[in-house]
Amino acid sequence: MLQPEKPVADKPRPRFSFSGWGPLLGLILLCILATLLNPSFLSLDNIFNVLTRTAFIGIIAVGMTFVIISGGIDLSVGSMAALIAGSMILVMNALEPRLGAGTLTVLVGMLLALALGALFGVLHGLTITKGRIEPFIVTLGTLGIFRAVLTYLSQGGAITLEQNLSDHYSPVYYGAFLGVPIPIWVFLAVALLGGLVLNRTRFGRYVQAIGSNEGVARYAAIQVDNIKILTYVAVGICVAVATILYVPRLGSATPSTGLLWELETIAAVIIGGTSLKGGSGRITGTVIGAILLSTIGNVLNLTSIISVYLNAAVQGIVIIIVAFLQRGRR
């Protein structure tokens, strides 16, 4: 009764919606600026370079979009990536004498990574839903646990992939298909799949319904716990996919692998227009957010106006500006 007796607008008011186009506009402006400062920014090599580096954060951010839309958060993704990378390398090294330094060993390693990602997701989901603990707390806990286990396994140093395996595995990161690096293809595939799942499947609809109002979703016969667990499994699998691409890049896992990825991932999702409170969000926004963040680093590298050491500062300013422009949107 007390909600204002608002007239229902006859026609939707044509209003510029920042959340829809703002991030893309920002990215385009940044690209124009970068090209003016250093024409080599627009070279195909550089663009592929930026996108390849974006792939890790971008892929995880696609999964994170689901978690955040459902009203959750996963702070552990960086540590999880490190632990999965370490475990993967250890197992592949151990299998090499028996299975050889070939495709089979690498495949087993990849499957192990995916299984671990899914398993961690299930554990997160169960603790959060059945254990009724805030996702922030649960994943803050595992953030510490995952990295500590990796540090223990590596004894504080590096876990390095055997040279033979590394040679066999490296095309996954350094290779190209139709002239485009493999990580970019994977990123594209994950993003398309994510968009499809979010907007065109029951799971995606339920995720939005839960984030919009969990109580209503529960009363509407949605199996809220199961859907929530699945969002953590989704982000876990995304972490695994990103790790599979990441391992051949350096061929090792160290205690600093994936450091601060969780913050970059969450930043990408938020810049993309997903509300931290959940309810609504878009995969395209997330993808653009991820690209925007890594482009900033690239531009600072290519130009000398601002020190590259200030990369995080510039990223931080961009995040705050975006949040500023989106405020009052609700």
Binding site: L2, P4, E5, R205, I222
Partner: protein, 541 residues
């Protein structure tokens, strides 16, 4: 006289230097305050002159003009969307009129904020309370005008004054208690105490009894009468015409943003008020009752216990039957059905569907068996008000549109069809549900739970916060569901609604079934007798 005394004391104590006074001088001051003409300070009249209000291109108030007399209880009635809340927000300083003016005691006023209105003695008590749940009662009462001793807050003075303000409204509570620990009725009284302690001379109450039990309502009415006796002008907004009739001196009817009539309450019958509100005759509010043909029992619940709420409740539901559940607030009706649906823990209970034992542990399991439940809490549990209309409609029947990808075009077509069938007005498929009026939101919520084609429909307060026109539509819809061979359970606090609609009535008290009334036993007196424990031992349906 005692209450007046407290009021004066409160007034006195607001002036910071005074609470340091000695007890003797304070008493003297009380006398002085009592001797002066306190009515001069507490009575206030209001006149609206040609008030218009536009939201964008839409005009929601059309030259509304009427007067509120000093010291009266003035009722404001009208359907949802009639403009009552908008008008009250203008008076309370939350909105500014697009044209026209408000006169307070003959002076034109322009409140730019609720704070300015409060300064003039006009306080709006929201239907959804404006209390900070995590603060104490005293902290709420003094929010924004805390008493200080030097730089620090003077907690003890605030607690003392709050205790007195609470006593004034008939609450004997520790002012240090957190508001979140209070029940709804207590929160409402705290709101009133807060308003009174701010020298309210005109109190606007928006649907104050919507969530109260009969006993609590009685307490509230006594308080309102007492405040009137003290010279507070009260503007009372309500859907419940019997309350308006019993309580108010004058009644104003708004319809579609226009002032229809202001008349002494005694001059209008409830029926006349209802007719003025909707602008047509309402004799046909309820559909004609049709006996349900089949004696077949489709659903039976045996020995359902929900800890703290319901004990060993059993009932049977026939095909095509409309079964009512009556009882006071807190009788455990909502909790019983939430327990049955698996929405809250249940300690016992067996269920039969078409004479076959079934398991019910989650709403999803219930839905698969064709049982749906619509909560009484529309915004919190019934409808995604932040989501668009189309996904709201199809949420419980998405499998119809997933092949496996969702066919949004088919969803859109389904929405158009259902919008017409349920007469959901005022929205595009892609507009947010929050843009709809209460009645249309409720119709959308009904369309949603009926979309999966359920056989057993449980409706909890299906017409709460819904205007008269939409109410009638919902009654006819329920009748139609029963005619189609579905079975409907209606939980309601409106006795007339239950009597007008139901074939049989289960009355609950304190978590127990106290009576099952057939058609011929259904009367308000009879239901209340069972609901309050005058009649009825614990029975099974």
């Amino acid at each position: 006289m005692c209450e007046i005394y407290h009021r004066q004391e409160l007034q006195v104590n607001h002036h910071a230097p005074l609470y340091a006074q000695s007890k003797a001088s304070l008493t003297a001051h009380r006398h002085a305050a009592r001797l002066c003409d306190w009515r001069r300070y507490t009575v206030l009249s209001v006149r609206f002159e040609s008030i218009c209000k536009d939201f964008g291109p839409v005009r929601v108030l059309h030259e509304v003009g009427f007067a509120i007399q000093k010291g009266q209880i003035h009722a404001l009635i009208g359907e949802n969307g009639a403009g009552k809340s908008t008008l009250m927000k203008i008076l309370g300083g939350y909105l500014q009129p697009s044209a026209g003016q408000v006169l307070v005691d003959g002076q034109a006023v322009h409140f730019r904020s609720s704070r300015e209105a409060e300064a003039a003695g006009i306080v709006l008590i929201h239907q959804e309370f404006n209390l900070a749940e995590d603060l104490s009662i005293a902290q709420n009462v003094f929010l924004g005008r805390e008493l200080r001793r030097g730089l620090l807050l003077d907690e003890s003075a605030m607690n003392r004054q709050t205790t007195r303000a609470l006593e004034q409204v008939g609450l004997w509570l520790d002012p240090r208690r957190k508001v979140s620990s209070l029940i709804v009725a207590e929160k409402q009284l705290v709101e009133i105490a807060k308003a009174l302690s701010r020298q309210a001379k005109l109190l606007i109450m928006d649907e104050p009894t919507a969530t109260l039990t009969p006993g609590e309502i009685e307490t509230l009415f006594k308080l309102i009468a007492r405040m009137k006796g003290e010279g507070v002008t009260i503007l009372y907004i309500s859907h419940k015409l019997e309350e308006v009739k019993a309580l108010s001196d004058t009644v104003t009817v708004l319809r579609d943003g226009r002032h229809i009539q202001t008349a002494p309450t005694a001059a209008l019958t409830q029926q006349e008020m209802a007719n003025l509100m909707v602008g047509r005759e309402l004799s046909d509010m309820f559909p004609l009752k049709m006996a349900f043909s089949s004696p077949k029992v489709v659903f039976a619940a045996q020995g359902v216990s929900v800890p703290g709420w319901a004990t060993e409740v059993s009932f049977e539901l026939h095909q095509g039957e409309i079964l009512g559940f009556a009882g006071l607030v807190g009788a455990g009706r909502t909790e019983l059905f939430e327990g049955i649906l698996g929405l809250r823990p249940r300690s016992s209970g067996r269920f039969e569907l078409n004479r076959k034992t079934i398991e019910l542990h989650s709403p999803a399991q219930a839905l698969r068996q064709g049982i749906v439940y619509l909560s009484e809490d529309r915004k919190g549990k019934g409808l995604h008000v932040n989501m668009e209309l189309r996904p709201n409609l199809t949420l419980m029947a998405l499998q119809l549109y997933a092949h496996p990808l969702l066919d949004t075009a088919a969803e859109g077509r389904a929405f158009d069809k259902e919008a017409q069938h349920f007469n959901i007005r005022g929205g595009q498929p892609e507009s947010k549900a929050s843009a709809l009026s209460g009645g249309n939101q409720q119709k959308l919520a009904l369309a949603k739970i009926l979309h999966p084609d359920p056989k057993i429909v449980i409706l909890d307060e299906p017409t709460r916060g819904v205007d008269v026109g939409a109410k009638r539509e919902i009654y006819f819809l329920i009748q139609q569901l029963a005619q189609e061979g579905r079975s409907v359970i209606v939980i309601s606090s409106e006795l007339l609604e239950l009597i007008g609609l139901c074939h049989r009535l289960v009355v609950m008290r304190g978590g127990h079934v106290t009576g099952i009334l057939g058609q011929e036993q259904m009367s308000e007196a009879e239901i209340i007798a069972y609901a309050t424990g005058i009649k009825g031992s614990y029975a099974t349906a």
